[in-house]
């Protein structure tokens, strides 16, 4: 472990034990462990996923930041990298995967599509950004973001993890462990169950507008 990163500078450590002792906080130790082993879900949606693979390959080598262990199962993953266009047909599966991931978990929207629909925003089968359903921690712009940009985004996520405190994080507090997001339903169009009432009243308003 890197002494500089871990030790709190406010505490003077005598010279003779410099290399043997470190004084730090629990938060720092905890976050240092988590930020250095973020395991992403092996999950690719579209073009951006290819740059994600390139970022893992020899030239860019994401492993340098402790993020190379892609897990095919959501149960073992900490990070959902939404790498590509989110379609209405796919989004129920994405939300289900997210619900299956244990806390603490993070979501990174990679690319223009995942952040806001991108070039396909006006498409009838496209969800304009994953943040309509899942809370996003870091957005990475680009179409596709270069591997460098992806790594920069993941370093941003590490900085975010560094700032979290054991006392405040919600997964150690009372209440349900995970906050489940209701899975959208494929109807005549995508139905988000949280918006049922709103959809119903807007559809009713359509009818009155038509008859008027």
């Amino acid at each position: 472990m890197d002494n500089e990163k871990l030790s709190l500078p406010q505490y003077d450590i005598p010279d003779d034990v410099q290399n043997a002792v470190a004084i730090t906080t629990l938060d720092r130790l905890y976050n240092w462990g988590r930020r250095s082993s973020v395991w992403p879900l092996m999950f690719g949606l579209a073009c951006c996923a290819i740059e994600m693979i390139a970022a893992q390959a020899a030239r860019y080598d994401m492993a340098r930041f402790g993020m190379e262990v892609m897990r095919p199962t959501p149960r073992q993953a900490d990070l959902m990298l939404v790498s590509g266009t989110v379609t209405k047909k796919m989004v129920p599966s994405i939300v289900r995967l997210w619900n299956q991931m244990p806390e603490p978990k993070y979501c990174v929207a990679m690319g223009a599509c995942a952040s806001g629909g991108g070039p396909f925003k006006e498409g009838y089968n496209v969800v304009a950004g994953i943040d309509k359903l899942i809370p996003v921690d870091v957005y990475i712009p680009g179409c596709p973001p270069t591997p460098q940009a992806l790594i920069a985004g993941l370093i941003k996520l590490q900085q975010k993890i560094d700032k979290q405190s054991l006392r405040k994080v919600h997964w150690y507090r009372k209440g349900p462990d995970v906050m489940e997001i209701p899975v959208p339903i494929l109807g005549p169009d995508l139905i988000d169950p949280r918006r049922n009432a709103e959809i119903k009243s807007a559809a009713a308003a359509l009818a009155t507008k038509e008859s008027a």
Binding site: F43, G44, A46, K121, N125, V127, P188, P193, I199, A203
Partner: protein, 580 residues
Amino acid sequence: MMTAPASTLTVDLTQRFPGIVSADARPGYSGFIVEKDSLIEVATAIRDEFGFDLLTAVTGVDYFPDKMEVVYHAYKTTGGPGLVFRVQVPRVDPIEVPSLINVYPGADLQEREAWDLMGIKFTGHPDLRRILMWEGFEGHPLRKDWKEPFYEEDAKPFKSRWPDGRFTMAEDKNPFKDNLKFPQDFDPEKWTPDNDESLYQTLKRYTVKDEDGLETDRIVVNMGPQHPSTHGVFRAAIMLDGETIVGLKPVVGYLHRNHDKIGERNTFLQNMPYTDRLDYFNSMSNNLGYAIAVEKLMNIPVAERADYIRVIMAELSRIQNHLVFVGMLLNDLGAMYTPALYAFEERELILDIFEAVAGSRMMCNYLRFGGVVRDVPPYVLQKIKDLVFDRLPAKTDEFERLLSENEVLVSRLKGVKVLDAETAVRYSVTGPVLRAAGVPYDLRRADPYSVYDRFDFDVAVRPNGDMYDNYAIRIDEIRQSLRILQQAVKQIPDGPINSQKPQYQVRVPAGESYGRIESPKGELAFYVVSNGKPNPWRYHVRPASFVNITALEKMCIGTKIADFVALLGMLDIVMGELDR
């Protein structure tokens, strides 16, 4: 060089079928119009008497407000020009056209797509379900009178984007404040979703009764859409008897990004960057296919230097695609990561070249109608030379040394059947999979485009159609591509890079065109219909991956589930192109 003239008619169907078939007389169109009721008879004759054994594309065109048309493109696997025939029906629901699935089984998924997106009912199709959208979706999106939730105007550039110099959000104009569209008085609580019931219903027909009266349970295994080996968001519902596959249905559409609909709102040039995102491994060759289709329609020549640059880029693209194919195939077979890392190392070098000429590693948007957008600077040409004369041949040898005679690989792949020649042709399979089954059908030779006729190269073929041949043919093709590249970089002439002036809006005369190229995955074609306006009336992509998976069920039935991932890998699908 001029683009190839519109294919001359080699057959005259009107004499064979007087009164039933008539020549299409509309300016800019070619081919024949067939009476709906005789379609099957005529198609059978086209296949058996005239020898057009490969039906490459089936697509609908909505001639709003009076007609719907289904267009068929048939070719001979021995090469030569194709035959276009079409059926026209009045545009009143139900719109019914006989299904050609019994004549050309390759029409299966394409007919389902036309049903899904255009609402054309193919009578006699055994499994006419929606394919790209889900059961229960409202409307048929590619009809001209169907408007998407974020609809603004019929054609871009939208004036409504900047009223009074201020931008407006599409969300604010939609009654549901999102990319949503529900029928009047819709109540989400009363809705019962399909939940794939109709899909599982179709798998039931494979259940055969056990002779001994023993009840055997068959299980359905769903693979995907989230699975590490399905190359993206592909899903297959597989019916298993023990470990043997007895039924399989591909479920696609999880990456359906509405290329066709968006493409019909765009201007012709605006579609170029969208083609990048079809087969996102090969944006250069996608550009080429689209450019060829539109150039045919515009009837303009391509600058000679640009033609060479196009060939160089398309072949470099093929090499990196096949390298990644080999790496990913071994991934699927269980040799996790290492071979893929080798492949990606070479791929990066080729992407460097794309980035140098086009400005982007993956989404190149490099071609323009009549040429290319930027010249290749001398230092990049030098880099390409280094690659194609030294580095890549040596690396291909290394791949071969490590893999081709590797005992584990050989015993895993040899003798595992993928497809035989006859089935492959019947199911409209194209590309390396067809050639590995012994059919030497390569569009660069069979229907030459660009300047491929100037190069000396062989069409790679392998006789057995097993997994090993499917692997080996990719290596063969890398070698042939290197041969082409070596000639092209030597012969490339100086001169202008575009025969036209740079322009944002191109003038495209009315008519139709079908531009096709040999993409690394098979035949990639663009079917474009113009009515003289700045945006295409119909823009249809005929992707290799989508049509190739028509044969997937046939390939897999009778094999073990353990081979499924490898068999799927052989088809080299990419979801951006498959779902569009």
